[in-house]
């Protein structure tokens, strides 16, 4: 179907070693308690130290959110919707309110749209920084663990000023947003994004140009373009394979049609490309934040929306930090949805885990695995 994974020369380990039972391969269980991060188990079959088979075993954080939403009011569901990925809460929240508004036929005021976009972009940076810091843990690069988590607080402070909470905002409600911009926010946002862009250059110097990283990431975990599309990957994983698909451009929502930004892609499809897509997106998000605080129109932030969900069907989707997040929402006239199917970016990208790991060495597993930006809580829901 696609190009085979990069062949790895078998020089150090004899692949013909057999165990007592006569099997040529060895099955390992990685997780759920492991020295990286994440509540996820991989059942890996190795031949020598080459991975020949991978079976993800998710579900350690499966909380039955789809059932819970069916039993709750649409407003009460908002905190539940956010929890699968609290590092990217507002984007998931946006998918929910977008599909509700589509059924209700409510139009959000423009200032409300801009505020939503502002929080979404700050969240995208925060999420990518969290991903980067855990990448540091996976690769044993302590500086890259500390720095992104420190700089993430720059945006957490801003978001806290705007919404009143550090990471779980519950800020987007059907019809608009809950709070208006606090005084002095624009200047602080411009200052902090400019400072952060300077920091990103330092990240490049200490990590992304560093041979300690490039030699471990280049050519590892290759996912071809055709395979990525066929497996249904989205987000940075898809863009790292050279596809310029981004819902912010392809199906512009909120304030994105009025903003100027670029979709970053890398052609190679290896771990390094996916990592660089994250870096580029953070730079673009900084630009978007500055544009928003400059262009934000005056006016109301919220329009009255009914608390019931009329009869109807909607498929609302947004581009979250880890890819497309969508709701298939069926309303039947009450205040609860009849069915709310919740598909998140990590869940879509879960199909790519075996594809990027097969044929690599076991020692390269952390690099390849975490480059997908797989957040188990989001995938299990």
């Amino acid at each position: 179907m696609s190009a085979p994974p990069k062949p790895v020369p078998l020089t150090t380990v004899e692949s013909t070693e057999t165990s007592d039972s006569g099997a040529q391969t060895l099955t390992l269980s990685v997780g759920p308690q492991h020295s990286g991060s994440g509540h996820m188990r991989l059942i890996v079959e190795v031949d020598g130290d080459i991975i020949v088979n991978v079976a993800p075993d998710p579900g350690y954080v499966h909380r039955g959110i789809e059932k819970i939403i069916e039993l709750r009011n649409i407003i009460k569901s908002i905190p539940v919707i956010e929890r699968p990925s609290i590092i990217d809460a507002s984007n998931l929240n946006h998918a929910w309110v977008r599909s509700i508004e589509e059924i209700q036929g409510v139009e959000v005021p423009r200032r409300g749209q801009y505020l939503r976009t502002l929080l979404n972009e700050m969240n995208r940076i925060m999420s990518h920084l969290y991903w980067l810091s855990i990448y540091g843990v996976f690769l044993g690069h302590t500086t890259m663990f500390m720095w992104p988590l420190g700089d993430r607080e720059l945006f957490i402070d801003l978001a806290e000023k705007l919404t009143g909470a550090r990471i779980t905002y519950s800020y987007l409600v059907p019809g608009g947003v809950r709070r208006d911009l606090p005084p002095g926010f624009a200047e602080e946002a411009v200052k902090r994004t400019e400072y952060f862009e300077k920091r990103l250059k330092e990240y490049d110097r200490i990590f992304f140009n560093n041979p300690l990283f490039t030699s471990r990431a280049k050519g590892i975990g290759v996912l071809s373009k055709e395979k990525a599309i066929d497996l249904g990957c989205t987000g940075p994983t898809l863009r790292g394979s050279g596809v310029d698909a981004d819902l912010r451009k392809d199906e512009p929502y909120a304030a994105y049609p009025e903003l100027d930004f670029e979709v970053s892609t890398r052609p190679d499809g290896d771990s390094f490309s996916r990592a660089m897509v994250h870096m580029d997106e953070m730079r673009e998000s900084c630009k978007i934040i500055r544009q928003i605080v400059k262009k934000i129109p005056a006016g109301p932030i919220r329009r009255k929306a009914p608390i019931v969900l009329p009869r109807g069907v909607a498929y609302g989707r947004v581009e979250s930090a880890r890819g497309e997040c969508s709701f298939y929402l069926i309303g039947e006239g009450g205040d609860k949805p009849y069915r709310a199917r919740y598909i998140t970016g990590s869940y879509r990208n879960m199909a790519a885990i075996p594809a990027v790991l097969l044929g690599n060495r076991l020692a390269d597993m952390p690099t390849a695995w975490w480059s997908i930006d797989y957040w188990p809580v989001e995938a299990d829901r």
Partner: protein, 156 residues
Amino acid sequence: MAPIVGKAKAAVDISIAYLTGIRHLFHRPYTLRFPQQRYAVEKGYRGRHLLHLDRCTGCGICAWICPEKCITIVPRGQRWYPQYFYGRCCFCHFCTDYCPEFALEETVEYDIAEYTRDRLVWSPERLSKPPVKKDDKYVFSVDTIGGASQVPRKEE
């Protein structure tokens, strides 16, 4: 020649990485030393609730909108008041938003850890006490000389 060029580039890149790290030895400290220095949480932060007993009518809308069923309405003499179980509150403050009498309010108090589970039940009387004023004045500033750092907030 190509391998030598590659090796030289790698050596340069790795030296730059080290120098970047070393440069940060001379930066101002980034860490907030928590018990001594406290982050200046601004008004509007969604911490624990403050209940105004005189305004509360005991209507129970807060208990209805609560996504977690953390609020129970308990009798106090002739009147009814909400009682919070903070082992379950998610601090979404929908109760504050939906309160028709503005009897609930957000406070900046967030450090309410306890040794036992039953201490997490906050009675209306406990909720009605305003939080103890703590010396939280440190904010993060990006324009300090010698690197971004925690500084005491400027008083206006």
